[in-house]
């Protein structure tokens, strides 16, 4: 426990789960390589297959097909209790009839470790989560945050190479959640084991993870670092799920994207074929506001419809091309005098925007415009 244990690599190969009586697979040919010691987050809305994937890795759910490799060894046939992975649940899942110490001793007793070693390891584990004085308490006598820290200690005390977490902070209030995020990051740094973390909270995913796998309808949409996913989304879903964005529907035409007769440069137009339908994704902080039409390209006139103050910044909600919502973020240092109802010009650098394959219909559905865009 005190020495850093080496994390294991975890690889998913075409992992699929079909529940009986359900036509669409819960997880559909998911493939993912997780490096030893990596903090990998499985992110997605509820029902996207992220928890089912985690349950298959843990051995709670039997995979319909595909492989799970831990350190290159297929573990699909192993029952959960032989997989040697720590697991932290959203509902803590502490044994209510055992004290914190007894809970943490439990996995060690299963491994036939001597009583004196158990005592030492439990003490170290309680210290790791800053609960040295709480060993004699029953779960009922502790707060939610303390219970979850005991659960983390219990999942780490037997030095697993992989720690699985299923929305571990989901049941806690915001302040506590942020404190535990910091603690989890510290534990990950200190112990160096592989973390696989399931959440639907994109902020939590962005701040904690080395890499994120974004799930949607049972499929992995994109895997990448927080920055990659945010700045270079590969699909409309990823662009919409992670943070705010403006998406303009257009068509590729001679190396540019044509949106209703106006052309825009993007960072990756060249990867598309002529006449491909794409969406141009621009992040709010990449857009600047002008009162006069700027001379450079990549600008569009916009009607300001709403301004939302967020303290350190403010968010402008605009309308471009008669009905497409555009979101602009201004930091306090660069506030303009714009008011709702004003017409302004929005501009951005071509390399700051990215094109994703998407039809106009899908984009309008994703941004919440019901009537057909004319």
């Amino acid at each position: 426990m005190s020495e850093a244990n080496q994390g294991a690599s975890v690889s998913l190969r075409n992992l699929t789960k079909v529940f009986p009586g359900v036509a669409t697979p819960a997880v559909d040919r998911a493939s993912l390589d997780i490096a030893p010691g990596e903090f990998m987050t499985l992110l997605g809305p509820s029902g996207s297959g992220k928890t089912t994937t985690l349950n298959m890795i843990a051995g709670f759910t039997k995979a319909t097909s595909g492989e799970i490799l831990v350190n290159e060894k297929n573990v699909v046939a192993l029952p959960a209790h032989k997989r040697n992975m720590g697991m932290v649940f959203q509902q803590y899942a502490l044994f209510p009839h055992m004290t914190a110490t007894e809970n943490i001793s439990f996995p060690l007793e299963q491994r036939k470790i001597s009583k004196t070693d158990i005592k030492q390891k439990v003490k170290d584990a309680l210290a790791l989560v800053h609960l040295e004085d709480y060993g004699h308490r029953y779960p009922k006598q502790m707060s939610g945050g303390q219970q979850q820290r005991v659960a983390v200690a219990r999942a780490l005390v037997f030095s697993p190479q992989v720690l699985l977490m299923d929305e571990p902070l989901g049941a806690l209030d915001k302040r506590l959640r942020e404190r535990l995020q910091v603690e989890l990051a510290r534990i990950h740094r200190n112990l160096g084991l592989t973390f696989i973390f399931v959440t639907h909270d994109q902020e939590e995913a962005l701040s904690l993870s080395n890499r994120i796998a974004v799930f949607n309808e049972g499929k992995i949409e994109q895997v990448g670092s927080s920055t990659e996913l945010y700045e270079r989304p590969k699909t409309l879903f990823v662009a919409g799920f992670l943070g705010d964005s403006t998406v303009l529907p257009g068509q590729v035409s001679s190396g540019m994207v044509n949106v209703k007769g106006q052309t825009f440069a993007t960072s990756n137009t060249s990867t598309f074929a002529e006449r491909d339908q794409v969406g141009v994704v621009i992040r709010p902080e990449r857009i600047s506001i002008h009162e006069q039409a700027p001379v450079d390209s990549n600008s569009v006139s916009a009607l300001v419809t709403d301004i939302v103050y967020l303290g350190s910044s403010r968010k402008l909600v605009c309308e471009v091309f008669d009905g497409i919502p555009a979101i602009v973020s201004e930091t306090a240092a660069e506030l303009t005098n714009v008011r709702p109802g004003d017409t302004v010009f929005l501009s951005w650098k071509g390399e700051d925007s990215v094109a994703v394959p998407a039809t106009e219909f899908d984009i309008l559905k994703a941004v919440g415009v019901d009537s057909e865009f004319k």
Partner: protein, 264 residues
């Protein structure tokens, strides 16, 4: 505030009256058991412990009492084992005919006692099980199992199966998970079931009347014989002993449960 206090007062008041109404007739046996005469005179004009002496020394009374105690304990143990396993199957299992089996398991509770008694008597005569410990055990266990199934399956339904997943992830196999996590958590329900089972057997008189033999009879049968055949206040002493015994058991379990709730 005053209104709720007033309601709470009247609630307690009416509750007390109803309790007295229900319990008072039962309590009449207590003074009668201390009578000095050989009649059911109430209130007794003279007092003595004669009938307690008779209850604990007369072989026919003492044997019946011991028979009922041992039988009740055996029924409690056997029906807790069978009933708990049945509850696991009925709550966790998924097999064809589950609802039919569920109905069959609970059927003894709603079958008229006399019908069951006649049927059991007929079958046990051919099987030569009448007048024996095993015959009584079999018949009473059948009556007692539904109580265990109901209490244990209620508790199992409330049991959060995520604890089993947690146990598995920590390296515990099915066996360990069942004996170290599930069973300790449903123990109160099993004990309640055992108590019900014991009382079911201890209290049962219809089947016991049919299955009795001159050498193997339970306390209720002995009491029935006594009250129909003779005027003997020993029956009042027997009733008082039973009353004291059941009160102690019920208070004991209530107290234990309360103490446990405070502890954890």
């Amino acid at each position: 505030m005053t209104e709720t206090r007033a309601i709470s007062f009247w609630l307690k008041f009416i509750g007390a009256i109803v309790s007295v109404w229900l319990i008072a007739p039962v309590l009449v046996v207590i003074p009668i058991s201390f009578t000095g005469r050989d009649s059911f005179e109430f209130p007794p004009s003279t007092w003595s412990l004669n009938y307690y002496e008779k209850f604990f020394t007369d072989p026919s009374w003492r044997d019946a009492f011991v028979t009922s105690l041992t039988l009740g304990c055996a029924v409690a143990v056997v029906s807790v084992i069978i009933g708990t396993m049945a509850a696991f199957a009925l709550v966790r299992g998924n097999f064809p005919g589950k609802s039919v089996i569920n109905g069959l398991v609970l059927a003894p509770m709603i079958m008229p006692g006399i019908v069951v008694a006649v049927a059991v008597f007929g079958v046990f005569l051919t099987w030569r099980l009448t007048g024996s410990f095993s015959g009584f055990l079999l018949a009473h266990t059948m009556l007692a199992v539904p109580f265990v199934v109901i209490t244990v399956s209620t508790s199992l339904r409330a049991y959060d199966s995520i604890l089993d997943l947690a146990g598995a992830s920590l390296g515990a196999n099915w066996w360990t998970r069942t004996f170290r996590i599930t069973l300790p958590l449903i123990t109160p329900a099993m004990l309640t079931g055992a108590l019900f089972a014991f009382v079911t057997s201890f209290d049962e008189v219809v089947i016991a009347l049919y299955l009795q033999s001159p050498i193997y009879r339970t306390l209720p049968v002995k009491m029935y014989a006594s009250v129909t055949g003779e005027v003997d206040p020993t029956i009042a002493a027997a009733s008082t002993v039973i009353l004291a015994f059941t009160t102690a058991v019920i208070l004991g379990t209530t107290f234990m449960r309360r103490k446990k709730n405070v502890g954890s």
